[in-house]
């Protein structure tokens, strides 16, 4: 058995071409793939990181942005511990679609999932969405916000590490009381972290 204490599922969503796959590969493999083709269906990668001396395994699901894969990708929302919603700061339409994505998240993801808004491609000169616009949007919708560049490896490591730290904190809070009579389903996915049989190992 592998040696890790926590396993978290992180799902990346967002329009086609915003750089989800590049972000994942930058983080997991440390490279910026040239000529990255569109993702088909769903792809997944694993990286184990260390937080406070504890091993945390991140299972990263990279979904396809194209419309026709929607019904495949939607099925991954529910089991996600964290959702990264990505747009391209140099492409207004990808930002304009965010409300649609949020609607989808509302419908399929569990309501306590950790949500992070990411504006990617900060290395590009032709920025169309100023930083504060993205920041405002994230704040209005209760999301964390970060701008990244998969190409220049800017903030990519930080993005995933902060998610790991945050999820671990959540998991630790939930570790103690398992039966919580008043609060709807017990032990189900609604307590997003540390509840499934595969999540907590010691």
């Amino acid at each position: 058995m592998e040696d890790y204490k926590f396993l978290f599922k992180v799902v990346l969503v967002g329009n086609a071409g915003v750089g989800k796959t590049c972000l994942v590969r930058r983080f997991t493999q440390g490279l910026f793939p040239p000529g990255q083709g569109a993702t088909i269906g769903v792809d997944f990668m694993i990286k184990t990181v260390e937080v406070d001396g504890e091993k945390v395994k991140l299972q990263i699901w990279d979904t396809a942005g194209q419309e026709r894969f929607r019904s495949i990708t939607q099925s991954y929302y529910r089991s996600a511990h964290a959702l990264i919603l990505v747009y391209d700061i140099s492409c207004q339409p990808t930002f304009d679609c965010l409300p649609d994505w949020l609607r989808e998240i509302e419908e399929y993801a569990n309501n306590k999932v950790l949500r992070i808004l990411v504006g990617n491609k900060t290395d590009r000169e032709d920025r169309e969405i100023p930083r504060h616009i993205g920041e405002d949007f994230a704040q209005r919708h209760g999301m964390y916000f970060l701008e990244t560049s998969a190409k220049e490896a800017e903030n990519v490591e930080r993005l995933f590490m902060e998610i790991a730290v945050e999820l671990m904190e959540q998991a630790k809070c939930k570790e103690l009381p398992k039966y919580d009579g008043s609060l709807g389903p017990i032990n189900g996915k609604t307590t997003s972290v540390g509840d499934t049989s595969c999540c907590l190992r010691s």
Binding site: I46, S71, Y76, D195
Partner: protein, 754 residues
């Protein structure tokens, strides 16, 4: 000695001195004479030697001239050898040149023959011979042809090339004629000639074009059938005509596969060209698939989307058809991959690689792939609808009605889930299977597990709360030391619990009141059967147990489904990544299993809480020292509790799974023993009372040993505690604690004092 020395040494001025000097001189003279004589004697030897030397010198001169002669000879020989080898080399060169010349002459002669032969063959329609000539021409060394031209002769290649081109044109024309006439034999014959004349690619293209017309025809026929049936289906409503669209798609794909199979039979020199043919053929297959899918959408899916009201039942045939279509597409692509691999099997590694990459590119970029993706999207949407719809229906049907005593919720729901997952796997798409697994896991976790929990909680939660509060009230009652107060509180709590539905569960613990020889006086009224226990309560009790069993079964089911899915879909995975993806999605069912387990645990806790008042009463009875009913047989007294527990165990075993029944019994006995022990510390005992209590405890431990092994240890401890009470003397205490002390020493001391 020199004269000066002599003069210094001797005083020559005196006679005596002179005399001495003379003597000295004479002595020296004699020495010199001797030395001279020695030298003279050696002179003759020297002379002899000198003579020998001069003789040797003359001999050496002779040897030198001889050596010179020899060296000259060696030099001359070497020169000769060099000359010879140079000549040999020249000869070699000359011979190879002659051979080359001969070959060229042959080639040139052949070339003449070939050109003439090709023309003759064309005239005679003997294309095989013509092609053989061209093949011979192509195998000629370019150098000889060039050399021929270099000598100023007219380039012999021109005629030959003209002839070859003419032959090529003829072949193409003939091929097209044969294709038009659909003369399979001629097509096959002509196709085989193209690689010989060095135009394999043209041949493959021609064949592909020929096959393309055939595929187009077949596809058109396939679609026409689908169109007709589709229109019929739209009119007549779905149902009877099963899977016409999947059938039509199958025919389209079969036509494509047949063409691929024919195109693959390219003769060996042109092997590895299947992808080239497929690149031309695939669009026809795609077009056919597009038409079938468009018809299918119009007839079924768009309808299905509108008519979601039609319910899950109507969705099923459509789902089956989509899954079938998807699996056919997958089979078709696998077929193409396999054929391409076989086609490239004679090539080197690089060729194989290139061939495999080419086919993957064709598959990835063709429209059929996109159609399959759209189809999968439709399928998944509808499957999700079907799953939700069917599960909520099952839930609705299973929602407890007044008087219902059984529930098949879990069986129903897992039947549905299994069907859906199997169908998802049958699409042949790993992504499809994964998505279905995700949906099923999420839904199972969300709906049925939650419902069970709710139902179990509805009947139990209040029981739990009451039990919890009654326990705390008891504690409060007990702490002042008034047993009566505690009992009163307990009775009240008991009465309260009895009013709640799940409290009915306790009934099957109840031994008939008459069989209770030693009812604890204060608690007796509460233990009497409540008159309001009606049929309805019975039903509720049965339903509760049914739900409890279902929750347990749900957990097992979910895990079984997960491992089944991994086993069944394992074959679809191409590569480790796919397998890991699948395993991770299947693990989602583990979360559903956990939810069912939680429901089960909740039910168990409720059951235990419902049993507790009765158990506490029994514990009190067990520990009660007073009011020894002497008229009652000792054995009857001691056996009352085991008898009551038998009723409990039998009932539990009959209605619950073995594991659950064991868990219930373990919980019950732990509660009982813990409570009894605490009561032992409260009372004081006479020796007789001690014996009675000890007997009761021993019987209990004996019962536990047989019927509830898990609780044996706990009850044995109680028996030891009771044994201490029955001691005559404190000194014998260690006997009571044989074979192993299960009590803490402090507790033992307190007990022994009573």
């Amino acid at each position: 000695m020199s004269l000066t020395l002599l003069l210094e040494k001797y005083d020559v001025s005196t006679e005596e001195g002179l005399q001495k000097a003379l003597l000295e001189i004479e002595k020296e003279e004699v020495e010199v004479d001797e030395a001279l004589a020695g030298v003279l004697s050696r002179a003759c030897t020297l002379e002899g030697r000198l003579r020998t030397a001069s003789q040797a010198y003359t001999k050496l001169g002779e040897v030198k001239t001889d050596a010179q002669v020899a060296a000259d000879m060696v030099d001359r020989t070497a020169e000769l050898a060099r000359d010879v080898s140079a000549k040999v080399r020249q000869l070699d060169l000359a011979r190879s040149r002659v051979a080359e010349c001969q070959r060229r002459v042959h080639d040139l002669i052949d070339l003449q023959l070939c050109s003439a032969g090709v023309e003759a063959a064309i005239k005679a329609h003997d294309y095989e011979t013509g092609a053989a000539h061209v093949a011979r021409y192509l195998s000629m060394e370019p150098g000889s042809l060039q050399a021929a031209r270099a000598r100023g002769a007219p380039d012999p290649r021109h005629t030959m090339e003209r002839a070859a081109a003419t032959l090529g044109e003829h072949l193409v024309r003939k091929f097209e004629e044969a294709a038009k006439k659909e003369d399979e034999a001629a097509v096959e014959r002509l196709f085989r000639l193209f690689p010989q004349i060095g135009r394999a690619d043209d041949g493959v293209d021609l064949l592909a074009k020929y096959l393309l017309t055939q595929v187009e025809g077949a596809v058109r026929r396939a679609c026409v059938v689908a169109g007709g049936a589709g229109a019929g289906a739209a009119g007549a409503g779905a149902g009877a005509e099963a899977a016409v669209f999947a059938d039509a798609l199958t025919r389209v794909l079969e036509a494509g596969a047949a063409a691929a199979e024919r195109a693959r039979r390219v003769p060996p020199p042109a092997a590895g060209r299947l992808p080239r043919a497929l690149r031309l053929l695939q669009p026809a297959v795609c077009a056919g698939a597009r038409r079938v899918f468009a018809a299918q959408r119009a007839a079924r899916l768009d309808n299905a989307a509108n008519a979601t009201g039609a319910g899950a039942l109507a969705a099923e045939p459509v789902l089956a058809e989509l899954a079938l279509s998807l699996s056919r597409v997958r089979l078709y692509f696998d077929f193409l991959r396999r054929k391409t691999e076989a086609d490239a099997s004679t090539l080197d590694e690089a060729g194989k690689q290139a061939s495999a990459e080419a086919i993957e590119k064709i598959i990835a970029e063709c429209e059929l792939t996109r159609i399959a993706q759209d189809m999968l999207a439709h399928y998944l949407q509808l499957e999700r609808y079907f799953l939700e719809e069917s599960v909520s229906k099952a839930l609705k049907m299973a929602t407890p009605q007044a008087g219902s005593t059984t529930s098949s919720l879990v069986d129903d729901v897992f039947f549905i889930a299994r069907k859906v997952i199997r169908r998802g796997v049958s699409t042949g798409s790993v992504d499809g299977a994964c998505a279905v697994l995700n949906e099923a896991g999420a839904l199972l976790e969300r709906l049925p597990a939650a419902a069970l929990r709710r139902w179990l909680r509805a009947s139990v939660c209040s029981v739990c709360e009451c039990a919890a509060c009654s326990v705390s009230v008891c504690r409060r009652g007990v702490s002042p030391g008034s047993v009566d107060a505690a009992c009163a509180v307990l009775n009240e709590a008991g009465a309260l619990l009895e009013r709640l539905p799940a409290a009915a569960l306790r009934r099957w613990l109840r031994a008939p009141p008459d069989a209770l020889p030693l009812p604890p006086p204060a608690a007796a009224p509460a233990l009497a059967p409540a008159p309001r226990l009606t049929k309805e309560l019975d039903a509720q009790r049965a339903l509760f147990l049914a739900h409890l069993n279902e929750a347990e079964a749900g957990g097992e089911w979910a895990e079984r489904l997960a491992s089944e899915a991994v086993a069944e879909a394992g074959a679809l995975c191409r590569g480790e990544r796919d397998a890991a993806k699948l395993a991770s999605c299947a693990a989602g069912l583990g979360a559903a299993a956990a939810a069912f387990r939680a429901a089960h645990d909740l039910g168990l806790a409720g059951l235990r809480a419902a049993l507790r008042p009765r158990l506490l009463a029994w514990a009190d009875a067990l520990a009660d020292p007073g009011d020894l009913a002497e008229d009652i047989e000792e054995d009857t007294d001691a056996d009352a509790l085991p008898a009551a527990l038998d009723v409990l165990a039998e009932s539990a075993r009959a209605q619950l799974s073995p594991q659950t029944a064991d868990a219930v019994l373990l919980g019950a006995l732990s509660d009982l023993a813990a409570r009894a022990e605490r009561r032992l510390l409260h009372h004081t005992y006479s020796r007789e009372a001690g014996l009675v209590v000890e007997r009761r405890a021993r019987r209990l431990a004996g019962w536990a040993g047989g019927a509830a092994p898990a609780a044996r240890e706990r009850c044995a401890r109680l028996a030891q505690a009771a044994a201490l009470l029955a001691l005559e003397r404190l000194q014998h205490a260690h006997h009571a604690l044989q074979p192993a002390a299960r009590l803490a020493p402090a507790d033992a001391r307190i007990l022994a004092r009573r």
